[in-house]
């Protein structure tokens, strides 16, 4: 495999005495979707937050072969965009202003307009709610807004933390379609999902995070059929389902 887009070396995060992430090494290659799965509190979000510079960490992160800057704003300008867990939209700004915030560091007005158009195409609902104060959007609308805002910076690497949270089933499918679409556009994606099954089915590779440590990694299809993963993350029903289809 060629040069990795992002590589972490002994990445650790701790809060007071709690070690959320312990010496994790991951690699993301250009153009692929990498999924991270793990149960509640396994450290998935902490990893994303470390990469995007909003929590302090120890260890190294390398992006495009160079050490990643530590300040959040420089990380964004390096080409990483993070759609955080819990959306963190700007509740006091309008939908449109939220989207413009996404393109905060971009100065090419024409290119921004183009991205905006594409984002609004992906999420027509946002266009309808253009001037609504974002805090009053419905949960799902807020999730779309968060995704759209993340795309506005036209990043090379997109970090998605539970993008399907709180979405209607029809939209969950749409979101995963969009994720695939984004990949098609040549972007690289790091994906965290509770809906492990869905995540694994779009991902190229996956890491399993357990108590802050990486306990399993490999191509997504291998991870998906790993019995331990099946038992722990995919639920018994799915377990049966997969065995059925596998037979």
């Amino acid at each position: 495999m060629g040069e990795a887009l992002l590589r972490t070396d002994k990445l650790s995060v701790s809060f007071g005495g709690i070690h959320a992430l312990r010496e994790t090494n991951i690699e993301i290659n250009p153009g692929e979707i990498v999924a991270i799965i793990g149960s509640n509190g396994a450290g998935k979000s902490s990893m994303m937050n470390a990469i995007s510079g909003v929590v302090k960490y120890s260890g190294e992160i390398e992006f495009k072969g160079r050490p990643l800057p530590k300040q959040a704003h420089r990380i964004v300008s390096a080409g990483i965009s993070h759609v955080p867990e819990g959306r963190l939209i700007f509740a006091n700004l309008t939908t449109m202003e939220n989207l413009r915030m996404g393109a905060y560091l971009r100065n090419d007005a024409r290119a921004v307009a183009k991205t905006l158009e594409r984002v609004l195409d992906m999420f027509p609902r946002l266009k309808e709610r253009e001037n609504q104060i974002a805090g009053t959007l419905s949960g799902g609308e807020q999730q779309m807004l968060a995704m759209g805002r993340g795309l506005m910076s036209d990043p090379e690497l997109l970090l998605l933390d539970e993008p399907s949270l709180g979405l209607a089933p029809i939209l969950v499918d749409t979101i995963f379609d969009i994720i695939k679409e984004i990949k098609q556009m040549g972007k690289t994606i790091l994906l965290v999902e509770q809906n492990a099954y869905k995540a694994l089915s779009v991902a190229d590779r996956a890491y399993v995070l357990t108590q802050g440590r990486i306990t399993l990694e490999g191509p997504a299809c291998d991870v998906m059929t790993n019995p331990v993963v099946v038992e722990a993350y995919l639920g018994k029903k799915r377990n049966r389902l997969i065995q059925d289809t596998a037979e």
């Binding site: 005495g17 709690i18 793990g38 149960s39 509640n40 509190g41 396994a42 399993v208 357990t210 108590q211 306990t215 399993l216 331990v228 993963v229 038992e231 722990a232 993350y233």
Partner: protein, 305 residues
């Protein structure tokens, strides 16, 4: 230091503490900011002073009358303003405090700006000590009851409190009234210590000083309020020989504590908690471990592989 001097400061601590305890309930526990407590103090002080100096009442009933008057006015203020949020409530109280002062300044019966003199000197270490002990115990008792917990819930999340069936308006009102009563009694004690009161003594800076004490001591901690009162009353006295530099240092000290202990001295803890702390810490650590090990069943199994 001479005891006579220290005694004076302790008496001051005493009446200040009464006001601070009341404010602590309102600000520290109910989460409502008030810049008008000097107004309640003024009402209590004037009522009590008129009681003893003009009407010849004994000290104790006059003191209670002062507290009651402040409580009644608090209820009136609350019914108008408790629906306002945050800073809006805050300026309503600020305006209230100034309004009380203005009325007193224009009211000839109580001497206008020249105030009331000839108040008997009744406040001494014993009387403030009794007031403070009773006040502290009563406040603690209230807080450790369903009523107190309801008040705390308002501070934490007003909407969630309503959804839990708490009549938030009523409890904010209770907090405000009790707080006003405490301030009124504190004012009465002050009046009978000074033997003279005038509206000037109840300016807005007083209210902010008390708010500083509450937050300095730590929100939601009665012990913190007590310690805060002691420290912030004694500090300027300790610095007294520095003349006009002492308030410069006082200002710096306030900033310094806030910066190094941004939850105040005792933020949310009582003194009794400190003794319980080791046990609590252990329990919390165990729980944290458990949270971690709430862990996917996978963990163990993978280790086996």
């Amino acid at each position: 230091m001479s005891w006579y001097y220290i005694e004076g400061i302790l008496i001051q601590c005493g009446y200040v503490l009464m006001v601070v305890l009341g404010l602590s309930l309102l600000t520290g526990f109910a989460g409502l900011f008030s810049f008008g407590h000097a107004g309640f103090m003024a009402i209590g002080a004037y009522m009590a002073a008129i009681g003893t100096a003009k009407w010849g009442l004994p000290f104790f009933p006059a003191l209670l009358m002062g507290g009651a008057a402040a409580g009644v006015v608090g209820a009136g203020l609350g019914s108008m303003t408790l629906n306002l949020k945050g800073d809006y409530f805050c300026i309503a109280t600020l305006g209230f405090g100034e309004a009380v002062r203005l009325i007193l300044e224009n009211w000839e019966y109580v001497g206008g700006a020249r105030g009331v003199s000839g108040i008997p000197w009744e406040t001494n270490l014993n009387s403030v000590l009794i007031a403070c002990v009773v006040g502290t115990l009563a406040l603690m008792a209230l807080i450790r009851s369903r009523h107190g917990r309801n008040i705390i819930a308002i501070r934490e999340d007003e909407l969630a409190a309503q959804m839990s069936g708490i009549n938030t308006f009523r409890y904010k009102m209770i907090a405000l009234i009790i707080s006003a009563v405490y301030a009124g009694i504190g004012g009465g004690l002050l009046a009978h210590y000074m033997t003279y009161i005038q509206p000037k003594m109840f300016q807005m800076v007083k209210s902010t000083e008390y708010t500083i004490i509450v937050i300095f001591g730590g929100m939601g901690s009665v012990t913190g309020s007590i310690i805060g009162t002691l420290i912030l009353t004694f500090l300027p006295e300790m610095l007294r020989s520095l003349d006009n530099w002492r308030l410069v240092i006082y200002g710096l000290a306030v900033i310094f504590i806030m910066v190094i202990r941004p939850r105040g001295l005792m933020g949310g803890m009582e003194l009794s908690d400190i003794f319980r702390l080791p046990a609590r810490r252990r329990a919390a650590r165990m729980a944290a471990e458990r949270i971690k090990s709430m862990e996917d069943a996978g963990a163990g199994k993978e280790a086996q592989r």
